[in-house]
């Protein structure tokens, strides 16, 4: 294109008063634009640019909320989805079933409502209230009665544009999930404040309240106040893809069992005890078992470890602990039935000093002294698996399932404790999952990228000449395979129950899972851990699938 054309175009865009430059956008609009960009972009660099752009232009109060939201600090849900659906249906005068039908096609209630409520013709393009206004209103709503909630929400729907309404609903229903890792956000922040990413990561973790913290405080160059509860960012491992023998000398590596529990940090500072989960939830109150540590641990200590169901020196099936995780109050009965223990992996702070830069060997030595001194039966060192050769370790790994372990962790003895998921020094080496062949019997449309496609399936095994359902699985197929199964479902559905279609039992899949436990909630009597589709068995007929007896045998073997 010629220069003249380009200039003309520029002028045209300007005269049309297009809002390309960010500062003219209202707070909520800027945030909606960020969410849109993050959601659509598939390239990390584009996401980074979008975040940097946002943090450069947004209202400082809004920025604090975005940091909070993207690091898992959502406002508490004050209305439920039934209320939202009912109010929306009422507002636009649609039958509830049609709203539900729309919801199952869109796959997201917030978006459905955003699309259904008509946009006001006179919605100003550049004005609008900031994000923090709405979030602060949400906090007020916690104490409001239903009528007050409804009034506020209907008024907000009316004054917001469709895109803003989407993020508003997401915040309101506390279902915000953005495709942004904490690491990416930290990197974006590091471009606009004069702090190292690791320092930012540490600052934004822990127990701070976005309602009372301002941006300068949170990310000031000097640490002005010290939050004693603050955990370190966890160091996470990738699954090893190559042969372990390529890792080099076995002597340079430490092997430990990989446990399937709740990764957590135990912090004792200022004479207070804090227990954090990897999801950055403060869960001190949920594990009264650990209160003994408050007296016994020296001050200025941070332990990284795994919280596991543990009794009489044995790790139990994770399913045991799951029964008490979701509860608000842990009862005595819970404590007896599902006692928790900690397997200590690492020591991050000692005597108030951050020791993450030391080598794993040095940290382990210090950890061993610390744990041995405690003499508490429910605080154990995560045992080291001794090995001289990779072949030997390969054999040892086979025993993992017998002790309720998921496999092995391989850590370079010279490694520092890094931030986030990193390759090179730490690897997880899981045992192969259990598998079973099953037939698909129900299908339901998915959400997000899979909206309007049948991607959520229920599977059954044979029980005599009948079929019995035993699990759902949502992942494991390629987009192309999902499209093929979707087409099959549309052609072969037998009945429609709301969003669910019963499907001719014809397609056979291999289902992989990490564990199995008895359950009275499922017809088959079992519950699987992490079920997913491992492959589509186009070579198998429905007559050739596994049986409920096969499942029971697995339960017998691995379901302790």
């Amino acid at each position: 294109m010629s220069n003249t054309n380009q200039n003309e175009l520029k002028t045209l865009a300007e005269t049309r008063n297009h809002t390309i430059t960010a500062p003219t956008l209202g707070g909520m609009q800027l945030f909606a634009q960020l969410v849109q960009q993050l959601g659509m972009s598939t390239k990390t660099n584009d996401k980074l640019d979008a975040l940097v752009n946002y943090f450069t232009h947004a209202d400082p109060k809004d920025k604090v909320w975005v940091i909070a939201l993207f690091s898992g600090r959502r406002p508490r849900r004050t209305v439920n989805s039934t209320q939202l659906q009912t109010w929306c249906a009422e507002l636009i005068n649609l039958p509830l079933w049609l709203l539900e039908e729309s919801y199952h096609t869109v796959g997201d209630l917030s978006e459905t409502i955003a699309l259904l409520v008509p946009e006001r013709a006179d919605t100003p393009a550049t004005a609008g209230k900031p994000l923090h206004y709405y979030v602060e209103q949400f906090l007020q709503l916690e104490k409001a009665d239903e009528q007050e909630k409804k009034t506020f929400i209907l008024q907000s729907w009316d004054e917001l544009t469709s895109k803003e309404r989407f993020v508003f609903n997401k915040l309101l229903s506390s279902t915000f999930r953005v495709g942004v890792s904490q690491g990416l956000m930290v990197n974006a922040l590091a471009k606009i404040v004069q702090l190292e990413p690791s320092v930012i990561a540490h600052r934004i973790s822990g127990n701070w309240d976005p309602a009372t913290t301002n941006f300068e405080e949170l990310l000031s160059e000097q640490d002005i106040s010290f939050d004693y509860s603050k955990p370190y960012p966890f160091y996470l491992a990738y699954a090893i893809e190559e042969e372990v023998s390529n890792l080099g000398e076995p002597a340079e590596w430490q092997a430990e069992w990989k446990w399937d529990g709740i990764r957590g940090q135990i912090i004792k500072r200022d004479n207070q005890l804090f227990v954090w989960s990897r999801g950055e939830d403060l869960i001190t109150g949920k594990f009264p078992e650990f209160s003994a540590l408050q007296a016994k641990l020296p001050d200025g200590v941070v332990i990284d470890g795994e919280i596991l169901p543990y009794r009489d020196g044995q790790v139990l099936n994770f399913n045991v602990l799951q029964t008490r995780i979701g509860r608000k109050n842990v009862t005595k009965k819970n404590l007896q039935e599902a006692p928790a223990g900690l397997f200590a992996y690492d020591l991050l702070e000692l005597g108030g000093q951050d020791i993450r830069h030391l080598s794993l060997s040095e940290r382990r030595t210090a950890l061993e002294i610390l744990i041995n001194d405690l003499q508490l039966p429910f605080i154990q060192l995560s045992p080291i698996v001794d090995f001289n050769s990779w072949d030997q370790l390969t054999q040892l790994r086979e025993q993992a399932r017998n002790i309720n372990s998921e496999g092995l962790m391989l850590k370079r003895k010279s490694s520092a404790y890094l931030v986030g998921r990193k390759r090179g020094d730490w690897w997880k080496w899981k045992i192969d999952p259990l598998t079973i062949d099953a037939v698909m019997v129900y299908a339901q449309k998915g959400a997000g990228r899979r909206s309007n496609l049948y991607t959520d399936y229920t599977f059954a095994v044979k029980d005599g000449d009948k079929l019995v359902t035993f699990t759902k699985a949502y992942s494991g197929l390629t987009d192309k395979e999902f499209a093929q199964v979707d087409a099959f479902v549309k052609r072969n559905s037998i009945e429609k129950f709301g969003p669910v279609r019963t499907v001719k039992p014809e397609l056979v899949f291999e289902i992989a899972f990490e564990g199995i436990a008895a359950s009275n909630r499922h017809k088959s009597g079992v519950a699987l851990r992490f079920p997913r589709i491992s492959r589509w068995r186009t070579d198998k007929k429905p007559e050739e699938i596994n049986t409920v007896e096969d499942l029971k045998k697995m339960l017998e073997l691995y379901g302790k």
């Binding site: 294109m1 054309n5 380009q6 003309e8 175009l9 520029k10 045209l12 865009a13 049309r16 297009h18 390309i20 959601g39 659509m40 972009s41 598939t42 636009i92 649609l94 039958p95 079933w97 049609l98 709203l99 039908e101 729309s102 096609t105 869109v106 796959g107 997201d108 978006e111 459905t112 699309l115 259904l116 008509p118 989407f166 959400a447 997000g448 990228r449 899979r450 909206s451 309007n452 496609l453 987009d479 087409a487 549309k490 429609k496």
Partner: protein, 340 residues
């Protein structure tokens, strides 16, 4: 008494006139609503369509026995009075009005109610029975006025230019591509098109339609010419190696499905523009009401939801299974040559 139009395994059939409308299996006599491949299939002995549809059928289906008529020009087939009426979907697209012994049925084909300035303005046709599509028959599908969307597209092109990127717009080669072309021709003279769109463009301009000039993308063109400019390509080209020559580029998909984020994410589009050649929810409802039909049959799309809603509104409606489109996908085009 037999219905004026029956639903058979070959397609919609008028026994009194002995013709089919958009049959999906070869028949003797076919009336074709428009030239998209799920409605206009090869192998029929005789085709009746609108004048503007005929050249497209010749391009896509080759030589056959074609007869073409204008809108509102009734002809008789046996004792059945047949006429075509603008459907506003793409160039030449028509609704088929079938009258037999005083009873009027209308087959909508695909239609949109907003006048795109190219396809002819949609006219609702009074009838006793209306057979309507329902591709976007859910209330989440409410289109913005096309001028707003065009302005969004131009705005997007502009930001791509600022970022030094080529704008690749994905649009169906017959219908959407011409609309998009008109919209972006306002801001630039150099518009490049994929071979499939070029072919359609040639046929349409030869038939007398006035369209902005385009440049065909050929292997001889040096890569530099695309920089900062606009390329229009059909969905079949999206994500293929053919696109590599435009790098760095940004992809914008123009389709009603882009209304929903998930669909946009699935297509990996950098931008989605909910620009459709189908009626949205309101358009469908208004049309059904405007026809005054006592009975409505709902075909391809969200048949069950739309017909249930009509019934609740006091309009007797039923679902009909057809083989138009995939249930919820846009018309699949003929496998078109990518020219290279």
């Amino acid at each position: 008494m037999a219905q004026v139009i029956e639903f058979t395994d070959k397609g919609l059939y008028c026994p009194a006139g002995q013709f089919y409308i958009d049959p999906w299996k070869p028949v003797d006599k076919a009336i074709i609503t428009h030239a998209h491949s799920d409605h206009a299939r090869p192998g029929n002995q005789y085709y009746l369509c609108h004048h503007d549809t005929k050249p497209m059928l010749q391009l896509r289906l080759g030589d056959h026995h074609y007869q073409s008529i204008g809108w509102n020009e009734p002809i008789y087939m046996n004792e059945v009075k047949v006429s075509l009426h603008p459907a506003g979907h793409i160039i030449g697209s028509s609704q088929v009005r079938v009258e037999y012994k005083g009873e009027v049925w209308v087959v909508s084909g695909d239609y949109k109610t907003e006048d795109d300035g190219i396809s002819g303005a949609f006219e609702p046709v009074r009838c006793n029975t209306f057979i309507t599509e329902s591709t976007f028959g859910l209330p989440i599908y409410n289109w913005k006025p096309q001028e707003t969307i065009y302005s969004d597209i131009r705005h997007w092109v502009h930001s791509n230019q600022l970022a030094g990127k080529t704008s690749v717009l994905i649009a169906y080669s017959l219908g959407k591509a011409q609309r998009v072309l008109n919209a972006v021709a306002e801001v630039t003279g150099n518009i490049f098109v994929h071979g499939a769109i070029w072919n359609t463009h040639q046929v349409l301009t030869q038939a007398g339609h006035v369209l902005p000039a385009v440049i065909r993308v050929t292997p001889e063109l040096p890569k530099e010419v695309f920089k900062g400019n606009i390329v229009i390509a059909p969905p079949s080209a999206d994500g293929t190696p053919w696109m590599k020559r435009f790098a760095p580029y940004s992809v914008g998909i123009c389709s009603g499905w882009m209304q929903v984020r998930g669909h946009q994410r699935r297509r990996n589009a950098d931008a989605g523009f909910a620009l459709s050649d189908h009626a949205d929810w309101k358009g469908l409802l208004e049309t059904v009401k405007a026809t005054g039909a006592e009975k409505v049959f709902v075909t391809h799309g969200f048949q069950s939801a739309f017909s249930r809603y009509l019934n609740e509104q006091g309009i007797a409606a039923g679902e009909v299974k057809t083989e138009f489109g995939a249930e919820e996908e846009e018309a699949v085009e003929n496998p078109e040559k990518t020219d290279e």
